[in-house]
Symmetry: C2
Amino acid sequence: MTTDRDRRPAEEERRPTTGGARAELKQERAVRTRGQVLDAAAHAFAAKGFPAVTILDVAELTGMTKGAVYFHYPNKEALAVAVAEQFYERLPAIADGVRALGLAPLSAVAELLTRTATAFRDDIMIQAGARLQIERSLIKAPLPMPYTGYGNLVSGWLQEARDAGELSAGTDPDVIARVLISAFFGAQHISWVLSDRADLAERVQEILDVVLVPARST
Amino acid sequence: MTTDRDRRPAEEERRPTTGGARAELKQERAVRTRGQVLDAAAHAFAAKGFPAVTILDVAELTGMTKGAVYFHYPNKEALAVAVAEQFYERLPAIADGVRALGLAPLSAVAELLTRTATAFRDDIMIQAGARLQIERSLIKAPLPMPYTGYGNLVSGWLQEARDAGELSAGTDPDVIARVLISAFFGAQHISWVLSDRADLAERVQEILDVVLVPARST
């Protein structure tokens, strides 16, 4: 149930103001609140999974009313989609960070997977996004398609590695990319279930050693 | 609600009989019915996931009443545990089939993963078990711990391979086993999401080529 007290901030944000600076301040506050709601949703989804989370859980985590949460996201599905979209913004952001280092392509792939493992261990938005992805059939809203974007990225860098002579002849960059992606996401899921991702960094290092080292040109 | 009509078969199965042959026949029928319920539950869990399945879904798939289903499994959690246990009986059964071929250890590992991929593609009990495993946090009953049994099996066979001189020196069988298991379960999940497992056999062959071939002693 939405009370008048719940509705007030929402209407204030909607009402046109005369002072431009005041409107900007309200805009900023709305963006910040939206971010807090999203962050709380990520904590809730990561901890309990989509079916068990309620809007009240999210409201309680932010210290807001349910009405304030509903103002930003009309339902739980909208929250799940927004968290999943954040997840798919963070993966390319990790890739941008690696690109900025100017490493050779094969080292860049290794650095990308290492940093992604750290992000899966430490970033609640990524943990929530990963969990929502495996629960996608229980969510009545279209989520971004998983794995393909990240897979294409790794595949492209491995093609650069082959063009630069870093991969041995006869190695297919697409095959190596698919095996790396399968092993990475398999390891992150198994590590989540068995050790709450405590051993994920080690598992990913093993994958890099076993899959990338033999593919390197000698 | 349980009606008298629902209760009758259950009470018949419980009532002691004088004729031994008749009792045996009833016992057989109970086992068969239990198997039908389990099979229907596997279809339902694989298709809809644990949270969305109802006992009525399972009853309708068997053509039985809800009461008949409840006689065999007191609730949905008990059905999920029984399906998951079936899953964990089928994986060692695949291994027994491979052992019977008398292959060299490294070929045995490849054959095991190939047959397991086929089973994931074709066996509804395994598909249901895999899905219940990723939904395990939504199920209020303890499910068998995943991955470890299968991982130990692969690890043991790879140790035999090293002892038989099939693996190159300096190769750690446990590391190879962990990478294989991560890649296998990652590939089966990704293949399920992206292509309903249509490409799983190819993906597993790639994993064997990329992970096992370089580890072989030359």
